[in-house]
């Protein structure tokens, strides 16, 4: 799998003989090195949970957030190079603002995901720039269309999801997600499960300290995307930590 694209991997404007654009694949590798982020779509909302790895105890708590607001009704969680992601956030915010100026209302999240995907794709076409080393998940809720979740990867491809994961433990996270019946779960159930997934897939050996970031948008928040409140956060964290202990007790670790 890890092949060297010698000579064909120097710029995004080159194809390899077997039809790959290596720069884009390397960008996806950059995403795989970042802390895990999961997003789940349920019956009445979308939740985001991010494992924000903290490499030093000297950092201020709550610095370098990885979940952002786009307008009031869309949440964006990012994985990959944080500086690259910040530019995508700015672009998305500008798109939403322009849409409001032109059409007088909230930008539909599918439309925004398409625009972000087009933007990221443009950076995969030229040798003068490099692709964005970040994946972003966009989620929103409104009464008519319900909850919607989209993810855009560095190649500029976007899909709609019931549940998506990005970052280092995304395979493990996906496995956990597939056990859940996401379609029938409420926001509160989802956010507990999302936090639990983050705790389960977090690698205690390699990445000791992490901060959990949680946010949601749904019927409970009246369609506004926001960080979960202190009380909900505490309750969810307790659930996730205790579920983690139950899981290890049930012996799914290698002895």
């Amino acid at each position: 799998m890890s092949s060297i694209g010698t000579g064909y991997d120097l710029s995004a404007s080159q194809f390899s003989p077997d039809g790959r654009v290596f720069q884009v694949e390397y960008a996806m590798k950059a995403v795989e090195n970042s802390g895990t982020a999961v997003a789940l779509r349920g019956k009445d909302g979308v939740v985001f949970a991010v494992e924000k790895l903290v490499t030093s105890k000297l950092y201020e708590a709550g610095a370098n957030r990885r979940i952002f607001n786009i307008d009031t009704h869309i949440g964006m969680a990012v994985a990959g190079l944080l500086a690259d992601s910040r530019q995508i956030v700015e672009t998305a915010r500008t798109e939403a603002s322009n849409y409001r100026a032109e059409y007088g209302g909230n930008i539909p999240v599918k439309y925004l995901a398409d625009r972000v995907a087009m933007y990221k794709h443009a950076y995969t076409l030229y040798s003068a720039v490099r692709p964005f080393g970040c994946s972003v998940a966009l989620g929103s809720y409104d009464e008519i269309d319900g909850p919607q979740l989209y993810m855009v990867d560095p190649s500029g491809v976007s899909f709609g999801y019931l549940g998506c994961a990005m970052g280092k433990a995304r395979q493990a996270a996906k496995t956990e997600m597939e056990k859940l019946k996401l379609k029938d779960m409420t926001c509160l159930e989802l956010i507990k499960e999302a936090a639990k997934i983050i705790y389960i897939v977090h690698d205690e050996v390699k990445d000791k300290h992490f901060e959990l970031e949680l946010s949601w948008v749904g019927a409970t928040t009246q369609g506004r995307h926001q960080k979960v409140s202190q009380e909900v956060f505490a309750e969810v964290e307790r659930y996730a930590k205790s579920a983690l202990e139950d899981d290890s007790d049930s012996g799914n670790d290698d002895m």
């Binding site: 100026a101 059409y103 007088g104 599918k110 398409d114 008519i144």
Partner: protein
Amino acid sequence: MECVLGIACNDFVILASDMTNAHSILVNKQDEDKMFKLSDRLLMAVTGESGDTTQFAEYIEKNIQLYKMRNGYELSPPAAANFTRRNLADSLRSRSPYMVNFLLAGYSERTGPELYWMDYLASMIKTPFATHGYGGMFSIGIMDRYYRPDLTEQEAYEILKKCVAEIQKRLIINLPNFQVKVLDKDGIHALGVIKSQNLTA
């Protein structure tokens, strides 16, 4: 001078526009269609500078269709109205602004039937009933008197007939024909043309 009338009720929006096309003292035709179908659920009745009307209406119509082709769904009536107003506002401070006044009727499951009044200065209001032109000045009082949100299509048509009768009685300019179209959940339907000889009969 041209005249357009519009009434929005719980289940439909009905628009009426005169059919006279004139240059100064010369009448070119008495059967012009001044209503433009922007989409299956959007209808615009336009008055103003001849030429600007068609250019602007067709520009908006094509852009609304383009949005639908690009994104797979239609703009809602509020979004379409705001988009139209934005274009009018941008053109206002350009070298040659569009001189158009119009009523935009829209229907969607989300919002129901809506009527927007817009003028050449890019002002916009959403309103239950509205008019443009000198004929409108006679009509708005009649609409104030008889409007109810739960009117049937036939009742609203009767109100429009009253307005047209008044215009034909009191407006110095002769506007013999008025075209009437209604927009409801099943799309756009043309109702009969109100002709002056039928009213005085």
